[in-house]
C-alpha cells in the first residue's frame, strides 16, 4: 500500500537534489522562456511590410500613380534609388532581395496602349519575394483594366476564421509548454534511471520500506509541479510580452497531468532497458529530439510539409500539443478529448511497462 509520508519525504529529497543541481531547472523553466522571447520577437515583432527598393526611369505622371497604388496596398515599404546607377548592381552590392524597375517610357506606352514591362527583381531564397511579386502583379492588373476602361467584376472579401486572426505566438505558448513537458522529465529520468542503477542507489533504496511505485510517484508529482510552473511562465510571458491570445480552461489540466506521467515513465523505461548510462543517453536522445522539433513545439505542425506532418502524427508529444492547441488556441475542447484519450492510452502502456521492467534489485 502506498504511503503518503514516504512519497512526500522522497519528493522532498528529490526536489532538493533537483534544485541544487540548477541545470535541470534551467532547461525546465528558463530555457523555454528564452525561446519564447527569442522566437516571439523574431516572428511576431513589428509590421509585416516588406521593404522594397525601386528605380523610376519614367518622367510621366502615370508612373507616380502606379507607385502610389503600390504604396497604398500597405504591404510594401518603397524606397527610391537614384536612376543614374545600375539597378541590378545596386541591389547586389547592397544585398537586397527585392527591387522594382520602372522603364523610361512607362507613362507614354500606357497612354498609347503599347505593351511595356515593369521588372521585379526577386530572390527565390527569400520568402517575402513571392509576396512582393503578388502585390506588384495585382496592382499591374488593376492598371491594365483601367487602361482599357474596364472595371473588376469578381472581387475578394477577406474574412478570418476566428474573429481575430491567430498569430504565431498563440501557437508558440502551448508548443513550448509541450516542450517542457517532454524535455524536463525525459532528459533527467533517462539519466537518473541509468545512474542510480550504476551507483547502486536503487539497491540502497530497496533496503528501505520505500517501494518502486512510491519512488516513481514522487518523480511524477515533481515533474507535474515543474510543468505547472512552466505553464504559468509561458502564459504570462506570451500574453504580457507578445499579446498572445490563449484560452485558459480546466480542459488544460488533464494534459498537464498525463504529459509528465508519460515522459517520466518513458524516461524510466529507456534508462531501465539499456545496459549503460551512455547507451541510455543515446537512445533517450533518439527518442527525444524528433519529438522536440516535429511535434509542434516551435512551429505549428500544419505549417510543415506533408511528409513531416505524417511523421508528427506518430509522435506522442504531437497529441499533447495538438490537445493544448485545441483548448488554448481554437477553444475547442471536444477535439482535445480525442488527443487526450490517445495520450492517456500510450501513457498507461508505457507506465505499466516501466513499472514492470524497472527492478530495485537483480536476481
Amino acid at each position: 500500500m502506498a504511503n503518503l509520508k514516504r512519497i512526500f519525504s522522497d519528493l522532498a529529497v528529490f526536489r532538493r537534489q533537483y534544485l541544487r543541481n540548477r541545470i535541470g531547472l534551467f532547461f525546465a523553466l528558463i530555457f523555454p522562456v528564452i525561446i519564447i522571447v527569442l522566437f516571439g520577437a523574431i516572428f511576431s515583432g513589428g509590421s509585416s511590410t516588406v521593404t522594397v527598393y525601386y528605380q523610376n526611369h519614367d518622367s510621366g505622371s502615370l508612373s507616380t500613380a502606379y507607385l502610389s497604388a503600390l504604396n497604398s496596398t500597405g504591404a510594401l515599404d518603397l524606397i527610391p534609388v537614384n536612376p543614374s546607377v545600375n539597378f541590378s548592381q545596386y541591389l547586389l552590392a547592397n544585398s537586397l532581395s527585392e527591387g522594382i524597375l520602372i522603364p523610361t517610357n512607362f507613362s507614354e506606352s500606357l497612354e498609347s496602349h503599347i505593351p511595356v514591362n515593369v521588372t521585379v527583381y526577386t530572390n527565390p531564397a527569400d520568402t517575402s519575394s513571392e509576396g512582393v511579386l503578388a502585390v506588384v502583379s495585382g496592382v499591374t492588373n488593376y492598371f491594365n483594366l483601367r487602361a482599357v476602361g474596364a472595371s473588376p467584376i469578381v472581387g475578394v472579401i477577406n474574412q478570418n476564421v476566428k474573429s481575430s486572426s491567430y498569430k504565431y505566438i498563440d501557437f508558440l505558448v502551448p508548443g513550448l509548454i509541450g516542450f517542457s513537458i517532454l524535455t524536463s522529465p525525459m532528459f533527467s529520468m533517462v539519466n537518473i534511471a541509468a545512474e542510480y542503477k550504476k551507483t547502486k542507489i536503487f539497491r540502497q533504496l530497496s533496503l528501505t520500506p520505500l517501494t518502486k511505485g512510491e519512488w516513481l510517484t514522487s518523480k511524477i508529482i515533481w515533474y507535474i509541479i515543474l510543468t505547472v510552473a512552466s505553464f504559468v511562465l509561458m502564459v504570462l510571458v506570451g500574453t504580457e510580452l507578445f499579446a498572445a491570445q490563449v484560452q485558459l480552461s480546466l480542459w488544460i489540466v488533464p494534459f498537464l497531468l498525463v504529459g509528465p506521467l508519460f515522459f517520466v515513465a518513458l524516461g524510466m523505461l529507456v534508462g531501465t532497458v539499456t545496459k549503460s548510462q551512455e547507451s541510455a543517453g543515446v537512445i533517450g536522445n533518439i527518442i527525444t529530439f524528433p519529438m522536440m522539433f516535429l511535434s509542434g513545439t516551435f512551429f505549428p505542425v500544419s505549417s510543415m510539409p506533408g511528409y513531416l506532418q505524417n511523421v508528427a502524427h506518430v509522435l506522442p508529444l504531437y497529441y499533447i500539443i495538438d490537445g493544448l492547441n485545441s483548448v488554448m488556441v481554437y477553444n475547442n475542447p471536444g477535439k482535445a478529448l480525442t488527443d487526450f484519450v490517445i495520450v492517456a492510452v500510450i501513457a498507461a502502456i508505457v507506465f505499466a511497462l516501466a513499472v514492470r521492467l524497472f527492478k530495485w534489485r537483480d536476481s
Partner: protein, 317 residues
C-alpha cells in the same frame, strides 16, 4: 537467539562459481568477519543474506527469515552498508538521516546518530563533498536509523586512511557494546583481528577456515617453534641425538625446531645445552593469522598479489 544460518549456499554466474557450497552461522551479538581476497565471493554472499540476490541453491536464514522471499520484513530489522556506498550527491548526512527516518517511520534524533558515528562535523556538508571516510560513516549512520539488530558492513573501511579506519573501528566496537550483531567483510587482516569474535576465511567461493582468530591459529599452526641462531653443526648434532622435527635455514643461520609437545621443548633445551656448541638469540614463535592466511590462500590479503613460492609451504608437521 537467531542470527544467521547458512547451509550449502551456492551462486554461479554462468560457469563462474562465485559461491560454491558454503556453510556458516553467525551468533547473535557477535562480530563475524569474512576475510578473503578480491573475487572470493564475500559480496555475493552478503547480498544473498540481505535479500538483494537470489541463491541458486542452499538454505539461508537471517533472523529466522528467508531474505529473498521476506525481504521487505527483513529490511526493517537490518542495517546495510553496501560495498562502495553512495548516496544522492546533493544531500547532506543530516538530510539523509531524516529521510531514512521518514521512510522507516521511526522517531529519531539525527544529532544522536551523527554523534554515534562521529560525523557531527560534516552533518551539513553535501554528500559529493564528503571525504571517503565521512561517506562511509554516512552509510553507517543510515544503517543505524531503523535501530537494527543486525548489521551488514561490506568493506566499511576500504580506501580509508589509517586514522579514519580506526574511527570506524571504534564505531563498530560500540555497535557490539550496544548488543548488535555485525557481519563484516574486509581485506584487512588487522581489521578482522581487532574487531571480530569469529572469522571465516574465504577463497574462490569456498570457506577454508572458520573460528576465532586464536582457534584458527591453533588449528593451522598447532605448535610453537624454537628458533636458535647457530652453525649447521648444531643442527647435525640435534638430528643425530634426537628425533626432534628440526630444520636449518642457511640464509638466516638459524635452527628451527617444532615443539609438538612439552617433552619436545625439554629435550630440545637439553640437547642444545649438551652439545657444547655456540648458539645465541633463542626464541619461540608461532604463525600469525596473516601467515596462515598466506599459507591457505596463497596470496597476501591486502595486496591481492601472489606471494613468492617459498612462503606458501604447508604447515610443518
Amino acid at each position: 537467539m537467531p542470527g544467521i544460518d547458512v547451509s550449502e549456499l551456492r551462486k554461479y554466474y554462468g560457469s563462474l562459481k562465485a559461491v560454491d557450497g558454503i556453510s556458516f552461522s553467525v551468533r547473535s551479538g557477535e562480530i563475524f568477519s569474512m576475510l578473503g581476497p578480491n573475487g572470493a565471493g564475500k559480496t555475493t554472499t552478503i547480498e544473498i543474506l540481505e535479500g538483494l540476490r537470489r541463491q541458486d541453491s542452499g538454505s539461508v536464514a537471517v533472523l529466522d527469515l528467508d531474505p529473498w522471499k521476506q525481504g521487505y520484513e527483513l529490511h526493517r530489522k537490518i542495517g546495510v552498508i553496501p560495498q562502495g556506498f553512495s548516496f544522492f550527491d546533493k544531500s547532506t548526512p543530516r538530510e539523509a538521516i531524516k529521510y531514512y527516518g521518514d521512510l522507516f517511520d521511526v522517531k529519531i534524533d539525527p544529532d544522536e546518530i551523527l554523534r554515534e558515528v562521529i560525523l557531527e562535523d560534516a552533518a551539513n556538508t553535501r554528500f559529493e563533498n564528503l571525504s571517503g571516510g565521512q561517506k562511509q560513516k554516512t552509510g553507517l549512520a543510515l544503517a543505524l536509523v531503523n535501530n537494527p539488530e543486525l548489521l551488514f558492513l561490506d568493506e566499511p573501511t576500504t580506501g580509508l586512511d589509517p586514522q579514519a579506519r580506526r574511527a570506524v573501528w571504534e564505531v563498530i566496537r560500540n555497535l557490539k557494546k550496544a548488543g548488535r550483531t555485525v557481519l563484516l567483510t574486509t581485506h584487512y587482516l588487522e581489521e578482522a583481528e581487532q574487531l571480530a569474535d569469529r572469522v571465516a576465511i574465504m577463497n574462490k567461493g569456498h570457506i577454508i577456515a572458520t573460528g576465532s582468530p586464536l582457534e584458527i591459529i591453533t588449528t593451522y599452526s598447532p605448535s610453537e617453534r624454537l628458533k636458535v641462531t647457530a652453525e649447521r653443526a648444531l643442527y647435525d648434532y640435534v638430528k643425530q641425538h634426537t628425533d626432534l622435527n628440526a630444520e636449518y635455514d642457511d640464509a638466516t643461520k638459524s635452527l628451527v625446531i617444532q615443539l609438538r609437545s612439552k617433552s619436545d621443548a625439554i629435550s630440545a633445551f637439553e640437547t642444545i645445552a649438551k652439545s657444547n656448541l655456540e648458539w645465541s638469540d633463542l626464541s619461540t614463535e608461532r604463525d600469525s593469522l596473516e601467515d596462515i592466511f598466506i599459507k591457505l590462500v596463497g596470496v597476501r590479503l591486502d595486496e591481492g598479489e601472489p606471494v613468492p613460492n617459498e612462503a606458501v609451504q604447508a604447515p610443518a608437521s
